[in-house]
Amino acid sequence: MADLSVRIGSLTLKNPIIAASGCFGYGVEYAKAFDISTLGGVAVKGLFLNEREGHAPPRIVETPAGMLNAIGLQGIGVHRFVAEKLPELRALGATTIVNVCGTTIDEYCEVSRVLSDHEGVHAIELNISCPNIKEGGIQFGCSLLGTHDVVSAVRKVTSLPLIPKLTPNVTDPASFARASEEAGADAVSLVNTFLAMAIDVETRQPKLTNGMGGLSGPAIRPIAVRMVYECRRAVKIPIIGMGGIATVEDALEFIIAGADAVQVGTANFVDPFLWQGLINGINAYLDRHGFASVANLVGQVRSR
């Protein structure tokens, strides 16, 4: 039995397997299916200060080995979250990572401040990378300065582990990891979805009401692995890798490329019971290959 724990700033995760934001509701929805306290973490749906409707359906469309989504960050807002969902998450023993959104730096700070005042929030994942909303998000995530500014501003208002979530829609994600590290982030997570588009050739309209959407799923895995590999060489802080993970091998690929922990999103839609198998499989691999801890495997890619 290898040591599966992962340290992220002041937080210690049971294991490196985290449910990805927007793919696991508010966590509570899955509690009837299995014990979500067994997960390394639960990243809940992105939250703004106030309730938000998101985009009109259709919001998803399937693509080769992937899917596009343009949910538009529908959410109940941070105040209803702490009142209605957080107590249940605490009762369930979940390691709760809250995905924080904003249209302005002030909103990011305000949401983070509210969360910091409540028991049961274990970390903040700063969503500066949602490709599906006009204002906010990506506008910070695609500018090094914007990234630095929003991360350092939020850093000032919270002592919770702070994890900026990076977009893959840039030339050099590693530079954004570096900017986040310099701004005081405890870790970075990547990748968010790839800005993409699907058109119905019969109607000649986009298949999504929003026009564009974010590509996720196995299709993007090789690009995401490359980006995690590049970031590992650019920063010392922990990296939470994701993008198309569906199997134990997929998760190991990210860890070997440089991820300290991983998130699983789209694959949870296909198999909401995959979690225990991932955790057991990583443990079995570590034992088989003689690693005392998952930490020892991080970034252990060997050149050919």
Partner: protein, 275 residues
């Protein structure tokens, strides 16, 4: 408490060039099922297609001793996944996740249950009819199709004690035209105090017409919606529909707050676009 079962295909019965009934061995899942719930099927192993597809639980399968063996799905081929289910062979394995969603609430006598089905919308009514029959609630099935050949399983409902009101577009069986025609007449003819609850499933325009009739004649109407669903578990927010709430409307997930809704709660104009 949904379960995920690698269900073996017991048999695949073709009803027409685009309809089939596929039987899945899934006792543990069948044991949990309530009327009108659905399952998420992985229509093929591997990544093509990637996502599961939602299907109403059609029949519950029992062995000779009455023990639950599994369930069937009434499938209409409209694309990749439903095409794969149409071609499924006995012995194939299809992962079956469920039961999912809010079930139908069967009414009790003296209230009557009027079920209104269009095409593949018949699917959720077999389990409902069994529940109604079990409680001795008198039931009627208003059932419309393109032609006589499309009115599958009508006899089964009759055998359950349901009164049949059939319509076909081409008049080859029952009354010519839409199923909403006779429904409108019978509702108008009802004594005000006669308690009738409407249950509808089918194309969105048809469900909307039934909902409007329910409103006009002050009868509670439940509809079972069929939006695109990514996960069926409340995880993705892809399946939202607009419902009224005090002081306005909001979007709720039809996989967990539905697929069965009180028609009067829905903002029908917002549904027009989606499936």
């Amino acid at each position: 408490m949904p379960v995920d079962i690698p269900a073996v295909v017991l048999h695949n019965t073709r009803l027409s060039p685009d309809y089939n009934v596929i039987a899945l061995q899934a006792p543990a899942l069948a044991a949990l099922a309530a009327p009108g719930q659905f399952v998420m099927l992985k229509t093929a192993p591997g990544l093509d297609p990637l996502l599961r597809r939602p299907f109403s639980i059609f029949e519950l399968l029992r062995d000779d001793n009455g023990a639950l063996r599994g369930l069937t799905v009434l499938n209409k081929r409209v694309g990749i996944g439903t095409g794969l289910l149409y071609d499924a062979k006995p012995g194939d394995q299809i992962s079956c996740l469920g039961p999912l969603g809010r079930p139908f609430v069967p009414v009790d006598a003296p209230a009557q249950a009027w079920m209104v089905a269009g095409g593949v919308g018949l699917a959720p009514f077999v389990t409902l009819a069994e529940a109604l029959a079990a409680r001795g609630t008198s039931m009627t099935l208003f059932y419309g199709g393109r032609s006589a050949a499309d009115l599958y399983y009508a006899e089964w409902f009759e055998a359950q004690g349901a009164r049949l009101v059939l319509t076909t577009d081409d008049g080859s069986r029952g009354e010519p035209g839409r199923v909403t025609g006779p429904l409108a007449r019978e509702l108008a003819a009802l004594a005000p105090e006669a308690a009738v609850t409407l249950y509808a499933c089918g194309p969105t325009p048809m469900m909307r017409a039934v909902a409007d009739l329910g409103t006009t004649h002050a009868r509670t109407t439940f509809v079972s919606l069929e939006p695109v669903m990514g996960c069926g578990m409340g995880g993705c927010y892809s399946c939202v529909v607009r419902v009224h709430r005090p002081g306005g409307t909001h979007l709720v997930r039809s996989c967990i707050d539905g697929p069965v809704f009180d028609a009067s709660a829905l903002v029908w104009d917002a549904l027009a676009g989606g499936h």
